[in-house]
Symmetry: C3
Subunit: 348 residues, 3 copies
């Protein structure tokens, strides 16, 4: 595609030769002849001046100051990630969408399928309702009573259990499990033999429009209310969402995060990878929880926390620096004790 | 159901109008007209006096002091969780149990199935032995040599590999993997090309009666002995149990816990979410390991530990408070140095 | 098998009665009559003198000093793990390899299968290329465009998505997901409704020869380049490898490790269980990262680090000891303040 046409398609500013042809997008340090290099993070922009790309797609802010350093044409974008998504759409053919119900799928006679629904080979669909354009991957399972909104995709091998409700434009990753019963047993029982009898869950799972759930992630159904994930929340791979958890719209849960039962994640909150949230705990709206942090007390709206148990992010950073200096601090205290000890002992 | 009849069915004490009808159970802050609100945790009981429920199911201990504060009828239970399970059984119809072997399942001619075994569509069952009433979910895999005891359920998409033995009344979650080979390679090999040749495992996996295994959890087979999980142990989602691990009866492993190879978890021990146990380490009977804790040394029977590496729970709590005060402590030491430094320097 | 013949087959030194028969291998403290006990770790060797095994397989280094303490015959090996693998091969029949394409598998007419390829019941294989001797487990999914090298095995229920490339002699664990799109969205969008539009990934996943991937592990495809795993790297269960990650040859990632997008793990590096690596971070070659460590800054080649954020392993060990003594340190500072405070106050 000619660079000028691409710039127009993306709505970005072109600096350099608009007649150049680019056919692919690559990382800034990978791109070569005929390729558009992408650089937006500081680490990527640091290598922009040595790129072998035919052209670079960069943030407008960087281009304003540094475009002249780039050894190639430059596309300057207000919103680089959006421009990248658009560039990929412009340069690459749309992936072939699967069509129709594969004859090797098992679809219940009572299932209600919208227009243009695709069901892959080996998939099993019960008495479910699938909206227009829904795509069920190969070997996925969609149980009785499930409702899935228009254009949502259920990845290969995903397991969507009884009665789970998914909005439109949602993405359920391969191997994800939605709607298994939570980890609620009857622990106060005085009969040891019955000590682990699970409590039957009467809540469900509701994912609103545009929710993304990653591969092999588990979202348990509610014990007493629905486990609920708000619109456009993004949940990465291998995440655990316990029973009755409420996740607000646009929240982001990075890989391997765990949220225990009854807890609440506020709208727009971001939990970095491997963070954990104790049961019955609330992470506030737009709060930011650091990687591997352990949330055992409520986190206020807009707060940034880190560590286990969590503390304000800046306090944690300081504490971690001090932690490494503890050995030295102990020596200083010992020195003080020795110096102070002497005069005291000499007292009459 | 009339409240009086329900109270009798649950064996709990009724305070208030027994003629009320309730049809569902909900969380205390969710329940409304015609619903039984459940409150047992302190957080739930704090909101009991504002509930809109027709009646509340609460612990006897709370009812004795606070029942008069509840704006509705009260059911007071010695064992609230057990009463909750019973209330759900009383108010909700039993879930329809799947029946028979689905014609779209693949069951080996040499498999031995007890009475009332159900196998879901798309499931694959090898030369296995399935006890009376066993339920194999859709798209689950049960390999050759597997033995599963009466009334156990294997969730959709679960993978039960060669020779795994499961007792009666067990629950294997959707997507769980039982019996994969562990992470044992021949690392001392002097030929780099062979450096990662896996050691073939000659141990198996044995789960005793009533064990629960969560969704997408992995239990590796033993390298040299069976990986063994004692009766009624409860293992949550996304847990990793390494090869040759021994888990005692009634132990509880919350979501995302990892136990490395050759380790032992004592009977009745509780590992909170995301805790990790190093290889060849023993967690004692009834020990309690905090969330995200890292067990690198043996934990004594009955001990409560937290942190990485683990320390006694109370010591850890103190240390975490001190950690946040480290900055202040350093300033205090600096002040002492300055005050003490002066006289020393003035010495003749 | 006679012990003498076994010693010869393993290429190890025999001390004791070569006429003994052994039929199985067990852990040193499990082995009994007719069994070969294995002991290599210090914990195992400590119990060697009480073993009931007919013979012990131990490291040559231990045998040189302690063989006389063993109550049985001894096989002394330069490379015990390799000898163990060989002993298992000698004593146990080779597991029956599955053969041929099961009639209940779904294999695309355009798939290209080498000689002796096996595809299990319920598996779905698209327009893929499978080398000689490849084994696809039951209910596994191999998508269009996938290429798998000779003798590689794809476990039951594993999901190998579009275009993923796997070398020869690789092991893909049950339930593993290769090639799902990474966690890359267009976050700078000013239209909230579009805020979580995923960026279509144009990179793939490439696993070189001999790579092992554990059960339920996820390897995301690259956004702009291939996610790449070098030859003979070993990845355990429930690991998350983000998009565009580069893993060097022979690296070892233990269970539940998470590596965020754009990061690099050097050749031969070892990440212990539950460790996490932040996005765009580099772990050096042969570096060692402790269990649960949080890598937020680059780790130098050959370094050993621990903690969150990581510090040198020895510094971390010291800091952790000091951490437990913080309470005492604070009391010492308070005592100093009291002692020093008095004279100062008494000053005229």
């Amino acid at each position: 595609m000619r660079l000028e046409a691409l710039a127009r398609a993306l709505g970005v500013r072109l600096l350099g030769d608009g007649d150049l042809e680019v056919t692919r997008v690559r990382a800034v340090d990978d791109a070569g002849d005929g390729e558009l290099g992408f650089a937006a993070a500081p680490e990527e922009l640091r290598t922009a001046h040595t790129t072998k790309a035919a052209a670079l797609l960069v943030p407008e802010g960087w281009a304003a100051e540094h475009a002249h350093e780039a050894p190639c044409a430059v596309l300057a974008a207000e919103h680089p990630a959006r421009a990248l998504a658009a560039a990929i759409d412009a340069l690459y053919p749309a992936p072939a969408a699967p069509r129709g119900v594969d004859p090797r799928a098992v679809v219940h006679a009572g299932a209600r399928l919208g227009r243009d629904v695709a069901v892959g080979p080996g998939a099993v669909v019960g008495r479910a309702v699938l909206g227009d354009g829904v795509i069920i991957g190969p070997l996925a399972y969609v149980a009785d009573g499930v409702v899935i909104g228009a254009r949502s995709r259920v990845g290969p091998g995903a397991l969507v259990l009884e009665g789970v409700q998914v909005g439109a434009d949602a993405l359920i990753g391969p191997g994800a499990v939605l709607g298994d019963e939570g980890f609620v047993f009857a622990p106060l029982d005085d009969d040891a033999r019955r000590a682990n009898v699970p409590v039957r869950h009467v809540g469900g799972v509701v994912l609103e429009d545009g929710v993304a759930v990653g591969a092999n992630t588990c979202v348990d159904r509610g014990a007493l209310r629905d486990t609920h994930v708000g619109a456009h929340a993004r949940i990465d791979n291998l995440v655990q969402l316990g029973h009755d958890v409420q996740v607000g719209a646009d929240a982001v849960l990075v890989a391997q995060v765990g949220v225990a039962g009854w807890s609440t994640i506020g709208a727009g909150a971001v939990l970095a990878g491997q963070a954990g949230v104790k049961e019955r705990t609330r992470v506030g709206e737009r709060a930011r929880v650091g990687g591997q942090a352990g949330v055992v007390h409520d986190v206020a709206d807009g707060a940034a926390v880190a560590g286990t148990p969590t503390m304000p992010h800046l306090a944690w950073l300081k504490a971690m620096v001090r932690l490494q200096g503890l050995d030295a601090l102990e020596r200083r205290v010992r020195a003080l004790e020795q110096r102070l000890g002497a005069p005291l002992e000499r007292r009459p």
